[in-house]
């Protein structure tokens, strides 16, 4: 199966968007080669603004530019969501300015740069901000759709992307705020987002081999969260597992927990980064170290069942 990093899709999507929407401008903080905004820079040099290594300034500059009718897309590493958080909160979300954030290299699969650069908290930080929409696309095709949708939303949007190449699935219909049923099932349901789709698909196969029929639902939108779909599958399967490449505190798992509490859930377990920082390593080794490979996920679910 073709593999493509979601950050690469983000860069391609910006170029496509730039062709049809002349209000779109792109800002970066000296990481255009990594966030993949260099494609936009090349295609539309007059609409690309490097803000230097000053992420906080980039966010407020984008806020100011948005007041002139532009649609700025800010790009940097997801770990710098923390560094520019006050600007995202007060500069953009509080006044509901029309600024988009395409933050890449999220999660431990950033790899070798290590724990200082591996954002395991960005979804939590973004979810809690009023007026913010949060996307976590699970593959390149979904990322194209997220970028397109972000430009149409009047207000701040955060798009979480990954460095690691991951499978490109057949395009699925994307509606902001809606989850996607990847596979139906009756014994338990797995809720996931982002690049963990690949590994949960693997886990579903492993579980099937053990005679467990697991449903799999992906949530490319973390906020507003598709509570209805989460509740529907909770009612149907009763046993609920969440899998994310993010801290188990404040991310998808907690979004699900808030939605399904009191809805007849019999078993609930959050699988993710267990309140620890990451470290250097190859992405595949890191996934294994933190228990996020398909077989490990399947084992934990089977054990719990």
């Amino acid at each position: 199966m073709e593999k493509k990093a979601i950050r690469v899709a983000y860069g391609e999507a910006l170029v496509k968007l730039g062709e049809t929407n002349d209000k779109v401008v792109v800002l970066d903080a000296d990481l255009a080669q990594a966030t993949m905004t260099n494609g936009f820079k090349k295609a539309f040099p007059g609409r690309f603004y490097d803000c230097g290594i000053a992420e906080a300034d980039m966010v407020d500059i984008a806020a100011g530019m948005s007041t002139m009718g532009l649609i700025p897309f800010c790009s940097t590493f997801a770990v710098f969501a923390g560094r520019s958080y006050d600007q995202i909160r007060n500069g953009v979300c509080y006044p509901k300015f029309n600024v988009k954030f395409g933050f890449s290299h999220a999660g431990i699969t950033l790899g070798e740069d290590g724990g200082s650069h591996q954002a395991i908290e960005d979804l939590a930080l973004m979810r809690v901000l009023p007026n913010m929409t949060v996307f976590a696309p699970s593959d390149a095709n979904e990322c194209y759709a997220c970028v397109e949708a972000a430009a149409k939303i009047d207000g701040p949007v955060y798009i979480r992307t990954a460095r690691l190449p991951s499978p490109v699935y057949d395009p699925r219909p994307f509606t902001p705020g809606k989850g996607v049923v990847i596979k139906d099932g009756k014994d338990c349901v797995i809720f996931t987002c982002g690049i963990m789709l690949e590994h949960t698909l693997d886990a579903v196969d492993q579980l099937a081999a053990k005679g467990i029929d697991a449903a799999l639902v992906s949530f490319p939108t973390i906020k507003p969260f598709d509570e209805q779909l989460a509740c529907e599958y909770t009612a149907k399967c009763k046993k609920v597992f969440t899998v994310e490449e993010h801290s188990i505190i404040g991310g998808l798992g907690d979004a699900v927990a808030s939605a399904i509490i009191g809805r007849g859930v019999e078993t609930f377990m959050k699988i993710g980064i267990n309140d620890v920082f990451g470290q250097s390593g190859k992405p595949a080794d890191l996934l294994k170290e933190y228990g996020l490979t398909g077989p490990q996920i399947a084992d934990r679910i089977a054990e719990k069942l």
């Binding site: 906080a56 530019m65 002139m68 600007q87 007060n90």
Partner: protein, 271 residues
Amino acid sequence: MDIQALEAQARQVRRDIIIMTCKAGAGHPGGSLSCTDALVALYFDVMKGVDPKNDKNPNRDRFVLSKGHAAPALYGTLCERGYFGREEFDGFRQLHGILQGHPDIKKCPGVDASTGSLGQGISIAVGMALGAKHTGNPCHVYTVIGDGESQEGLVWEASMAAAHYKLDNLTVILDHNGMQIDGTNDEVMSLGDVKAKALAFGYDVIEVADGNDMKQVLDALHAPACPGKPRYIILNTLKGKGVSFMEGQVGWHGKAPNAEQAAQALKDLEG
């Protein structure tokens, strides 16, 4: 508008500041009184396209109060300029009031940016000026920053970007009253030679000896732009200007006058 009329407007805005903060029992009178002359000069004389009946006119000059805690000065100025009635003062810092503790673009007409988290306003103003250049909007962007605020690194990140992008449609105005919550700038965190710093960052700098003198303020604000450079105006001001017992007093940074003090202040501010 002639200078006497502008000075009278400034006195009225200062009275508004006292009335507002006294009623609310809270607010920041000291740093509001120090920048009042600059705000009045901007809204009544300098800025183009200021129109309360068309406050979203896309080509209007923009103003960002980066030192957002001086909100009473902005509210007084906007009120006198006709953006809303004086009855709104009753709601200053109150539930459902349009005059929030710090300026809120979603609630208060005439406000161009929500500010209060120090350092952000100047950065937003840089973005506005850059966006204006990008879109061919002829507007000019003005922002008032504090000297205490200038301890925020973001002020200097924004300054670097302003020079890099040659934003000659941007004027940064430093309300240099020398004081902040915990003491003088020099006691808390010295700014050093702020003029040399501004020059080194690539600004075209004008220093105004008395930033509470309307004529001097107007001369600086009307000085022709320097092509390719953002403008930085240092206004040497007096914290608490116009109110005898507040002038030069650190303690009036974030404290409201009681009824008796307000009566004295209003007497000081009689025309």
